[in-house]
Symmetry: D3
Subunit: 330 residues, 6 copies
């Protein structure tokens, strides 16, 4: 292991290379091959999984990593509310895109999962995957679970989404973008008793759509719970119950209202506003984040680019949570 006392991310010098210049990487982080691990072990690697073969409605999220890399060029490192500079606090890198198998969720989970495990230093580097559809969460979750020492009960989960994504088989396939968390629960990667879902809303197919989640103990805060009822309080209680346990954060952009996030495959009206999302994420400061993903950005339905832009800000907020925990824990 190396000296990580002063982790620092090398960002391009904007005096030479304005933010619109250069081969785009996530938030202008260096490519991971350009980071010297002896000097600065990568704390968090952001990488893409350009796969959308698990969708049930509109495809195209395979182009999400591309669009988010571009949109993230104007993301700067200092977080005003948290008063923290993520690039000074953490060593961050873009680990490129994982291999994929466009015709198969399982095969992609397999090759992307293996790839994820090889990123950076498995004993140190944490992983933020950028989709792609929500099925790609499985690969990153699996790699994270291994990096966390394969906890027997599975990882705690914080989940932003319009849909619960615990569906059973669709068109004969168990692996879809609607099922990653059912798979995660069944394969022991997730502890459903410590699983909090924010942003769920209707319309649904049937009242049973949420049954699997509820039966397994998933706690659901609908948009109405957040706005009109006790959703925020329940989130706080959940966070405090965690007691510094590692938490995986999975963020489906469709938790956000189509006004701010039109570019997604199964948009649902009445979602959270960006300000509400940021407030909720910032309320998680102190959480021990062990892995994350941001998924379901579909650039072809995003003519003004606001969805990819928002996704890049969500990545920033997530990394700021990681930085906050690092600062708190040294």
């Amino acid at each position: 292991m190396s000296d990580s006392s002063i982790p620092r991310t090398r960002l391009p010098d904007a005096r030479e290379f304005p933010r619109f210049a250069g081969v785009p990487t996530f938030c202008r982080f260096p490519l991971i091959d350009d980071v010297d691990p002896a000097h600065q072990p990568v704390d968090w690697a952001v990488y893409g999984i350009p796969f959308d073969g698990g969708v049930t409605y509109r495809p195209g999220a395979r182009f999400g990593p591309r669009a988010i890399r571009e949109a993230s060029a104007y993301v700067k490192p200092y977080h005003l509310e948290h008063d923290i500079n993520i690039a000074e606090t953490l060593s961050l890198a873009d680990a490129g895109d994982s291999p994929v198998r466009p015709y198969s969720c399982e095969d992609t989970a397999d090759v992307a999962g293996q790839h994820a495990e090889s990123i950076g230093d498995p004993s140190h580097t944490r992983l933020l995957a950028v989709g792609g559809d929500h099925s790609i969460a499985y690969a990153n979750l699996h790699a994270t679970w291994r990096r966390m020492g394969r906890p027997e009960k599975g990882l705690a989960m914080l989940h932003f989404d319009a849909h619960l994504d615990t569906a059973g088989p669709i068109w004969g396939h168990t692996w879809t973008h609607a099922s990653p968390f059912r798979l995660g629960i069944e394969h022991g990667l997730i502890d459903p008793q410590r699983f909090f879902s924010i942003g769920i809303r209707g319309p649904l197919n049937t009242a049973d759509d949420l049954a699997y989640g509820r039966e397994h103990g998933i706690e659901i805060a609908t948009v109405e719970d957040i706005r009109l009822r006790d959703g925020r309080e329940r989130l706080r209680a959940f966070l405090s119950r965690l007691d510094n346990a590692p938490v995986y954060l999975t963020f489906d952009i469709d938790c956000v209202d189509p006004s701010a996030a039109p570019g997604t495959g199964t948009p649902c009206c009445g979602g959270l506003h960006a300000g509400e999302v940021f407030e909720l994420l910032r309320a998680c400061a102190g959480m021990n984040l062990c892995g994350a993903d941001v998924v379901e950005v579909l650039p072809d339905r995003d003519p003004a680019g606001v969805t990819a832009l928002l996704a890049s800000h969500v990545i920033f907020e997530i990394l700021a949570l990681a930085a906050m925990h690092r600062r708190a824990t040294g």
Copy 2:
């Protein structure tokens, strides 16, 4: 009359026909000709009136029914907040588009009105018209008024709109998209004493723009009344005053802010958010809905499709109100 004890809407089997497949109908409801009225009399028929010859600014809402049919493919039948499945509670159908006369509001009101009267079983089926510009409301309102037994005082009205739509003649024409409710009041279809307008806001031409409405007793809740003053309380008072009287609901998408509903002919900044709309509509649960329209979606100004999507969710919320009343009244 038929046995309507188990009304049920036959939706396509998504295992065979995914939501992106098939000739598009509103919310994937069956075409009305494919519903056997002996077995399942249609409770609510949704149909288009593709007419925009009454606009004062930007035309194109004649393509609204097309766009909303497409966008509604992902609307599912179960309402999470109301805990009701509209397809299990009601027999629903797409009644196609009405004939129109593109060059004349009056002639269109005439042929569309006659057509509306012929849809389903006039003694049973209720009508939800999809515009088109707001002038099309007249035809549906008229047919509804007849189905309700031509109440002498006219129907009670719940109105979502940025504009009051009680204008006098424009360019020499009495019938425009700005006048349907003046006509409705003058022709006895509407009871202005039981007329509640939500979402009105400026800028206006003059202080007199709202005079006709106020003089006739229309109650106005501007966006600011809803957000900052007693708008919600006054709506509740209005609803409770109705005492189960039949109410016609007319929904102009421009009551919504352009961030969520850019695709409309006379957009007005500072409108309601989707979440506020849903909260207000859900507050009407219990209301005896007798007819409705959703109007002024202009697809050519809706590059991300969010306006048509929102309109399809509003249709769902409206039908959920109908389902709630059905469940309550048996």
Copy 3:
């Protein structure tokens, strides 16, 4: 069988229902369930196969049938150059969309193929499938081959495309949108000795990309062959060699230049112009068309709608060829 001496397609009366009105069907043809086969057996059925699970680059063609139905509303029935009215010459219908299995080319080929075989009167009705990606051609080709009496040598093929679509396995899958004609040749549905490809152009992966086709006898006319060399003459020779044998026509919209057809998954610059396409198709008058498909329209990349519009005109040109043959042969 019925009296088909006066086949005629019932189109909506535009005096009542302008072209922008009504649930959209291909070219405003009646839905096949609304055609009385006893009176007018359907000569040609146009139907969608909304599947794009075989693409190698940009997905979204599953929404092709929707977009083409809409764009075709302004297609009228009289062909000026051929001096023929397709609706007076042929009984035409929209047969809806086939079922699909979004995650599998093979499974979709299976269910779509079975569905295709059931459309109309197998001994009489011919099939025009609308994609979807090019993999959907297989199902329609197979059904057509059966309707033609399962000819031992396979069907003659006329192919418009930027790519030859005779690729081997990709990502471990034999069935992709790049392989339908290799499969068709290997399964005996296609006679490669009577297979003419128009519009092929580079860049290619390697010089070997066209090897399979050339080895099996496929005749290729690149765009440059058409414009600068003897492509047109070779097409005429091919047509004359056919001697009234039934021909299947498969049309990938990417044979057209991106200026006129931007909305496709693998666009390639330097393609045919619309006028060239029409001239080439019209040169086929007299050909005994037995089946056809029009594929690879991707609406999300078609902001002005010109690609779907062109596809609808290509459908019209194809049906006009069918009408010409009918008129010639009685």
Copy 4:
């Protein structure tokens, strides 16, 4: 009358006001109120008629003048092929927009026609109207016919269009965007024996769609006539037959292929390319142009702005024809 020996158009000084600056006028010509008629009588006035109440399919051309004014900002005055500077040869002005009556073709023809007659010096100024739908041609044609001394046989016509626009009543209305030339012929404004139509193409409703025109002697050059047959020769013969008689030029942007002119209400594939249009217009050098219009630009369907840009270049080509005639005749 004033000294017109040195007609000259005052254009803004781009050293102070770049082409993107300023309230937009057609080609940055001065507003007509800012031209001193004593010094420089306006030779040609360009003005808008923002009306689309006569369309049969997609509305929105009322915004054509706006979009074309903006797009024309980069039109410069020197014509390279004709070697002429229109601003040095002619006094040109933007005469603003005419009044309109949005709900009525007849009423608009009336008020716009009266307005047109009042523009500039009726004994000198010629008129180029910018639509709007094609129905607006009537008003400008009528005013031009009066300015030309009300010629008994009517004016000679050069017509670029995909459609012949000699239809009878539609939805009970004689005045539509499909009928201006039938009205012009019947009202004696047009001499159908000297009427040449370029760009006509199918599909049509019936073989009879062109009957009225042919019966009255209109000469038609379809796109195929221009490209593959003797269209160009026939145009030359027509021009030579005119013998310096005044000619009215009416240009519907839908004569152009949708690749170059997607933004129009009834686009038709297989149209002329921009280069072909320019070649044909330039072949008219020497023609005695007495009036013109450019119509049917629909900005909402023109996401890249190419249609309005092309329309602005067509205006330039038309004014260059006027300049050529001025130079030839002094």
Copy 5:
């Protein structure tokens, strides 16, 4: 000086010229050359500065004035919340666009500043500049400061923005769109002790980004301060502290969330909603507004036109503040 007892703005008669007709001016105000200053001295002149040579990321705001003029066509004069008609209370005019030097902020500040000083009656007319990027504020601020009698301490400022715009040199240039208020402070035009900034938010480059402002006494209300803390109260305190001193209002559209204002060069998620902006602006009623600008609208990133529309409503709200002060002070 003239009789200004009945100031009144002449708006076009919409019975003749619908709102979509005519050469576009801001809010359809008359061009300033068409206003008779003897009769109606112009109270407020709105003019464009089409310059974007100071941007650090995405250019294109030079087209802002064009787009806002168009979008403002539907802005009407009566303000519902304030109960005031701006056109009856004030004489308003569009003063066209200022000259610019596209390659230089300084040179543009120079020529635009000189131009601004010449608009209307310097002893009476107040100036609302429409950008362009934020660097254009300097010219208008400077001209306003002179018109206000060159106050020694500088003007009080009310500032809506996502960024503080007090940066030092960028790429070797002191004048950029990020520095107008540093320049204004250093040149004595602005009193930083009476400078209130609303809408500031991260991410920032470093914690020092706000240092210059804070050191000079600028009061900052971040979006979170407005929503979650005491931002509104502090604004009220600031306003009350002003004691009728003249205030310059500068409004960067990027203070608004990208959902409502996507069309801007450096969009930042989590901004104010339109309703919040209006509420804050309306809370300023009574303020002695002496000048204003609205900047950073970038039409090429505004596919639905909502950003330019919002900017036009903000102009209306600003002019309504001016009208309120006029009414209060006579």
Copy 6:
């Protein structure tokens, strides 16, 4: 120097990384830092100069390199007409973006020129710059001129453009996107006697716009010269006159018609079609290409992405010319 007998470009394995995966580089070439110069000296380096500070109308070309990198992902290495594989014939690399100074053409020419000189092996590697506006050509031209041994008479030039780009000062600046070739001539980098311009067309400001070029001996082939006169023959004569002298090729995308290249800052109707461009470029096979640029792609005006796609194909055609010369000369 290294063994360059088997130059070869390492492209990503599409079996692992589909063409939509990975940090985008031009045509998926390796980043130059990842090429081992000892083994494979880079023959041609493609790099971006993201600068648009020299434009006279619409800015935004600074985002050209980004968009072209993305669009080029589907460019494959085998050229069908030339029968050559560029990746097997040449060692190709993406050299990232050059530094720029966004506010100054001269400063950018300076830093970009210095950067260009440092790319690869100056004695071996040739340079293809991707703009950015046309002013960026100067830096690449200068570096190429040095690499070619600073030829006294300057380099021969092949120029595709709608404009001649030999303008004098604009807004007081000698360096603009309209002047790179005047500067190149005056600085001795270009031999105007061997300078061939293709695609020039009007409208122009005055007849003098081409005077500088003509006086210095530039040979101009307008679009009409190419299509209707002897343009192609003159190009052949020019090429044959070169006698293997090194030629610099500069390609402004606005030589192409807006139908195929809408996304550019000063589009001009009536340009070349893609097929014509390819035919002309292919006619240059045998030419000794020593450097090149592709400029003026403006992604914000390219909603369907066809302009960036075409630019990527032009890059391919240019590299194929280089490969042809390499094959011919060994």
